[in-house]
C-alpha cells in the first residue's frame, strides 16, 4: 500500500496539485462489556481504508475509500483533486506553514499487547469486579468495560514524508448504579463515561485494580441515595484530578484550538473567546496556573510520534504562569499567525481529514499535597468524578456536575457526602480563583476517548495531565 500511496503522490503532483498527502490506516478494536457479572457484549472490529487530501490553488479536497484496488485508490485521488479545484474558486487561498519531510517510525510504549491476553482473563476480571459491586443490595446495575484499539498508520505526502506509526490504546472502567424508590445514583472508577484510557498495554488495566476498588464504588453509590444536596451558595472547593481533566478540556483545550478562533467551527462546535489580540496579553488564570499541550508524554492518550499532517509530536505552553501564551495549531492555521504548526492536526480515521484536536492538555502540578489543599478550607467541598458538562459556544460560561461531593470542615474531610453537586462559573474568573494545585505525586494523565468535533463528526482520543486543585468562592449548586 505504501508504494501505491507514493505513486498517488507523484500522480497528483503531475496533475498540478500544490500539496497532497495520503494516509492508509488499519484499526483493530476489541470491546468487552460485562453487566451484573454476565457478559453483555463482546465485539471485534477491523476497519481499514485510505484518505487522500489535495491542495490546489488554495482550495482543499479530500476523498476516502475502503475499496483498496489500485483503480479505486486512483479514482479517489482524482476525486480529491476535482473537489479541490471546485473549492479553489470559492476560497481566498490557503497558506501552509513549512514543515521538513520526515521518514520515521513510531510505536506506543506498551509492555503487554492486550490483544494477546486471553479473552477469558479479561472477561473474568470484569465479572469479578461487577459481582463484587452487586453485593450491595441497592446496586441494581454494575457494569464493567474494556476497550482495546490497535491503529497502524502510514502517512506520505508530496514533500517526501514517509511515516509509519503503531498506536496502541487500552481503556477500562467500572460503574455502579444504585436505585431506590425515588432516586438513582452512580459512581464510577477510575473515570466516568467508559473509564480511563492510555496509549499503553494490558499493564495499564492491571494497574487500575478494578476489583480492589469495586466495593468502595458500590458503597458510595448506595450511600448517595441517602445523601442530601448542597445548599446553593459560594464555597471554596477542591476539584479532584479526574474532574480537573474535564475542566481543562472544556475551558482551556477547546478555546485554544486555532480553527475555532478563526471561525472554522462556528457552524458546529462554536468559536472561542481567546482571539489573537489576547495572545500574550490576557491573564487567563492565577500565577499558579500553567497549561501545556504535550503529545510526547509516554503513554498519554493524546500521545503519538507525528500528527496526521506529518508534524512531529511536541510540547508547547498554552498558559504559562497564568498568562495566555499559545494555541493548538495545524499547518494551515499556524501560517495565518506566521508560525509553525505545533502538531495538533489529527483525524479519527482514514475516513476523516485532519483537524485541530487536543493532544495531552495538561495542568502542570503545583507544590501542595491533597491534604494541604483541604487544610486551607474552613467550609467547602471536595468535588469528585465528572457526571455532566456544558459550556457556551465561546467557552466562557461553564457548568459541571460531579458524581459526589465530600464535605470539608475546619480544614478536614468530615466523611459526610452530598449528591448531585453542580458548580459553575466563567472561565477566566474561575482560573484566576485557583490558589493551589496538588503536586506530582497525585498527577495523572487521564484519557478521554470521546471528544467530538467537526462536520462530519470526528471522535478523538485525548489526554489531560492533572492533579487536584483548589478554587476560592465558586458557585456551587443550582436552585431548581
Amino acid at each position: 500500500m505504501r508504494d501505491l500511496l507514493k505513486d498517488v503522490m507523484e500522480y497528483l503532483k503531475s496533475k498540478g496539485a500544490d500539496y497532497a498527502d495520503a494516509r492508509y490506516e488499519e484499526h483493530r478494536l476489541e470491546n468487552i462489556t460485562v453487566e451484573n457479572a454476565n457478559l453483555k457484549s463482546l465485539s471485534y472490529d477491523f476497519d481499514r481504508g485510505v484518505g487522500i487530501r489535495v491542495l490546489y490553488k488554495g482550495g482543499w479536497g479530500f476523498a476516502a475509500t475502503d475499496k483498496l484496488g489500485k483503480d479505486r485508490v486512483m479514482k479517489a485521488a482524482d476525486l480529491a483533486l476535482e473537489i479541490a479545484k471546485e473549492s479553489s474558486s470559492r476560497s481566498k487561498g490557503t497558506e501552509f506553514a513549512a514543515e521538513e519531510p520526515h521518514k520515521d517510525e513510531f510505536r506506543s510504549p506498551f509492555e503487554k499487547d492486550p490483544f494477546e491476553v486471553p479473552l477469558g482473563e479479561k472477561i473474568d476480571l470484569l465479572k469479578e469486579a461487577t459481582s463484587s459491586m452487586m453485593k450491595k443490595s441497592d446496586v441494581r446495575r454494575a457494569v464493567g468495560n474494556m476497550d482495546f484499539r490497535k491503529i497502524t498508520k502510514v502517512f506520505v505526502n508530496t514533500e517526501g514524508s514517509d511515516i509509519e506509526q503503531l498506536i496502541l490504546i487500552s481503556g477500562a472502567g467500572i460503574v455502579a448504579y444504585a436505585a431506590s424508590e425515588n432516586d438513582f445514583q452512580v459512581r464510577s472508577y477510575p473515570s466516568s463515561f467508559g473509564g480511563d484510557y492510555a496509549t499503553r498495554g494490558w499493564e495499564f488495566v492491571e494497574q487500575m485494580d478494578l476489583i480492589g476498588n469495586s466495593e468502595r464504588v458500590a458503597e458510595e453509590a448506595s450511600a448517595l441515595l441517602k445523601a442530601e444536596e448542597i445548599e446553593p451558595g459560594e464555597y471554596d472547593i477542591v476539584i479532584d484530578g479526574q474532574q480537573m481533566a474535564l475542566q481543562v478540556h472544556e475551558s482551556c483545550g477547546h478555546p485554544t484550538e486555532l480553527d475555532r478562533v478563526f471561525g472554522y467551527e462556528i457552524s458546529f462546535a462554536g468559536g472561542s473567546f481567546l482571539q489573537p489580540d489576547k495572545l500574550n496579553k490576557l491573564r487567563y488564570g492565577s500565577d499558579v496556573v500553567s497549561i501545556t499541550a504535550d503529545a510526547t508524554i509516554p503513554g498519554g492518550l493524546g500521545s503519538f510520534g507525528y500528527d496526521d499532517e506529518g508534524v512531529k509530536a511536541q510540547k508547547s505552553f498554552l498558559v504559562k504562569d497564568g498568562m495566555f501564551v499559545g494555541y493548538l495549531m495545524d499547518r494551515q492555521t499556524a501560517a495565518k499567525l506566521g508560525m509553525r504548526s505545533n502538531g495538533a492536526a489529527r483525524a479519527q480515521s482514514w475516513r476523516n481529514i485532519p483537524i485541530i484536536r487536543m493532544t495531552n492538555i495538561n495542568l502542570l502540578p503545583g507544590g501542595y499535597t491533597l491534604d494541604d489543599l483541604v487544610s486551607g478550607i474552613d467550609y467547602g467541598f471536595l468535588l469528585s468524578m465528572n457526571k455532566s458538562w456544558s459550556i457556551d459556544d465561546m467557552r466562557v460560561n461553564f457548568q459541571f456536575a460531579t458524581e459526589i461531593a465530600y464535605e470539608i470542615k475546619g480544614g478536614k474531610l468530615t466523611g459526610r457526602i452530598f449528591k448531585n453537586p453542580v458548580y459553575y462559573g466563567r472561565t477566566t474568573e474561575f482560573w484566576n480563583s485557583c490558589d493551589g494545585i496538588a503536586d506530582q505525586s497525585s498527577w495523572h494523565v487521564w484519557g478521554l476517548p470521546n471528544c467530538g468535533k467537526g462536520q462530519p463528526m470526528q471522535v478523538m482520543y485525548v489526554g489531560h495531565g492533572t492533579s487536584p486543585a483548589r478554587f476560592r468562592n465558586v458557585k456551587v449548586g443550582v436552585a431548581r
Partner: protein
C-alpha cells in the same frame, strides 16, 4: 453501490464461511459528500465511501459480534478463525437467545436516483446562494451542505433478508454579523433539490441582522417561545435519557417515575414515525425488526419506552424496532422522531406572549440529573425579547437549568407549522411556548 444481488451472494459466502454458527448480519455501503464553509469561503470539502459488515455469531447460546469493512473471502476466513478462538471464552447468556423471525419483503428502494452521483459543483452552487443571501445583509456565512446515498442489508441464517436503499441531503447554515450576533437553521430532505435551504437562509439572514446590539437580562423565570431547533434538542435529550427500555427495567431511568403518567397537556404528542414522508423513513432496525409508528407521548401521557431486541428478549417484552446496533442490543433510539404540531399558527403563538423571550437554539445541552431529567445548556444563535407578540430586542446568551418534565407541564402551545431539522437524527418539530423557563446564569456574548 453494490446492488441487492451482491448481498445475496455475500449471504451465500457467509453461510459457508460461518458454517456451524447461527448468524445475524447487518451490512451497509455508504457514500457521503460534504462541503463545509466558514467566513463565506469553502474550507473543507470531502467525499467518503465506506462499507461495514457487523456479524453476530451465536453458538450454544453464546454470542459475539465481529465487524469488518473488508468483504473478501480471505477477510471472512480470518474473521471465522477469530470467532473460533473467541467463542471458547464466551460464557452462555443468562437468557435464551433466539434469532429474529423470518421476514421476506421486496427491496425497499427509497433512494432518490439523482443522489447516486452528485458533483462537488452542485454543492458549491448551493453555497454560492447561501453566501449571496448573507452578503446582501453584510453577514458572513458558515455551515455545511451534504448528500448521502446508502444501501442497508440485514440477513440471517434463519432466512431473514432485507435490502433497502436510502438517500439523504442535509445542511446547516449560520450567518454572523460584525459584532458576533448570529442566527442558524438546518434542514433535511431525501434529495438536494428538496432541501429548504433557500428559504431558511433568507430567514437566517433576517434574524442574524437583527441580532445586534444585545442587551443583558437577569437570571430568573420567563415565558419563552422555543424555535424548532430548541424544541428538537429538548426532545432528543428526553429520547436519549428516558426512553431506553433497558434503563427502565433496571430502574435507572426517569421513566420509572413518569411512564404511564400525564406529563404535558392534551395537545402534546411525540412519536417515532417511520411513515412520516418528511423523514428518511428507515424501514427496519439493526436486527431487521420492522420500524412501526410508535406513540411515545400521546395526548400528554408518557405512553412508551423503547425496547431494543436484546432487552426485549431478556425481559419478555416485544421489541419496538429501535435497536441501534448488533454490538449493543440493549440500546434503543427513535430514528424518526416527530413532535406533532398544534392548533394555532406560529404568528398566533407569538401573539400569545405579551412579554417573553424567543430562544432560537440551544448549545451544549447535557443531563445534570437523569432521575428528574434535569437539563442544562446555553442559548445560541439568537436570544430575543418578545413584546406584544413581536421580537423587539436582541439579548445576550443565558444558561438554563430545567427539568424536562417540569417544562412539559408548563407547555402552553405548539404551532401548526412544523420544520424538518437536521440534528443527530432528522426530526420534525413545531414552535412551542412555555411558561416559567428558568435561566440560571449569564455569559459575555
Amino acid at each position: 453501490m453494490r446492488g441487492e444481488q451482491f448481498y445475496r451472494g455475500l449471504m451465500r459466502i457467509m453461510n459457508d464461511a460461518f458454517a456451524g454458527y447461527e448468524f445475524l448480519a447487518s451490512v451497509s455501503d455508504k457514500k457521503r459528500d460534504l462541503t463545509r464553509f466558514a467566513n463565506s469561503e469553502i474550507h473543507q470539502n470531502v467525499s467518503i465511501e465506506g462499507s461495514g459488515l457487523s456479524i453476530m455469531l451465536v453458538k450454544n447460546n453464546k454470542l459475539l459480534v465481529l465487524k469488518s469493512n473488508d468483504f473478501s473471502q480471505a477477510a471472512l476466513k480470518s474473521l471465522r478463525e477469530r470467532a473460533d478462538e473467541m467463542i471458547g471464552h464466551v460464557p452462555e447468556l443468562p437468557y435464551k437467545f433466539k434469532m429474529p423471525p423470518l421476514r421476506m419483503t421486496f427491496p425497499f428502494e427509497k433512494a432518490d436516483p439523482s443522489m447516486k452521483e452528485v458533483s462537488p459543483s452542485k454543492r458549491a452552487q448551493m453555497f454560492d446562494m447561501v453566501k449571496s443571501k448573507a452578503e446582501e445583509k453584510n453577514l458572513k456565512a458558515f455551515g455545511y451542505i451534504a448528500n448521502d446515498f446508502e444501501e442497508d442489508v440485514v440477513m440471517s441464517t434463519s432466512g431473514l433478508f432485507l435490502y433497502a436503499t436510502y438517500s439523504a441531503a442535509d445542511y446547516n447554515v449560520v450567518m454572523m454579523n460584525d459584532s458576533g450576533g448570529s442566527s442558524y437553521a438546518s434542514g433535511f430532505a431525501k434529495s438536494l433539490e428538496e432541501l429548504d435551504i433557500n428559504e431558511k437562509s433568507s430567514e437566517v439572514a433576517k434574524l442574524a441582522s437583527m441580532n445586534i446590539p444585545r442587551a443583558e437580562i437577569e437570571p430568573g423565570e420567563y415565558t419563552v417561545v422555543l424555535g424548532p431547533e430548541a424544541v428538537a434538542t429538548m426532545f432528543l435529550y428526553f429520547a436519549y435519557s428516558a426512553l431506553n427500555g433497558m434503563a427502565y427495567e433496571m430502574k435507572t431511568s426517569s421513566a420509572v417515575k413518569y411512564l404511564g403518567k400525564k406529563v404535558g397537556p392534551e395537545f402534546l404528542n411525540f412519536s417515532d414515525d417511520p411513515k412520516d414522508e418528511r423523514l428518511m423513513g428507515i424501514e427496519f432496525d439493526a436486527v431487521g425488526e420492522e420500524r412501526k409508528t410508535l406513540p411515545i407521548i400521546e395526548n400528554g401521557e408518557f405512553k412508551s419506552v423503547l425496547y431494543a431486541y436484546g432487552t426485549a428478549l431478556r425481559f419478555g417484552k416485544d421489541p419496538t424496532g429501535n435497536t441501534v446496533s448488533l454490538e449493543n442490543m440493549d440500546m434503543a433510539f427513535p430514528l424518526n422522531p416527530v413532535v406533532k404540531g398544534g392548533e394555532v399558527s406560529k404568528q398566533d403563538l407569538f401573539n400569545s406572549v405579551n412579554e417573553g423571550i424567543y430562544i432560537h437554539r440551544f448549545h451544549y445541552v447535557n443531563v445534570v440529573d437523569h432521575s428528574e431529567l434535569v437539563l442544562t445548556g446555553m442559548t445560541r444563535d439568537g436570544l430575543f425579547l418578545i413584546e406584544n407578540g413581536r421580537i423587539t430586542k436582541a439579548l445576550r446568551n443565558m444558561r438554563f437549568n430545567v427539568s424536562f418534565y417540569d417544562l412539559m407541564r408548563k407547555l402552553k402551545g405548539l404551532s401548526k407549522e412544523q420544520e424538518v431539522i437536521s440534528s443527530s437524527v432528522p426530526m420534525v418539530v413545531p414552535y412551542a411556548v412555555f411558561e416559567g423557563f428558568k435561566f440560571t446564569s449569564k455569559t459575555d456574548h
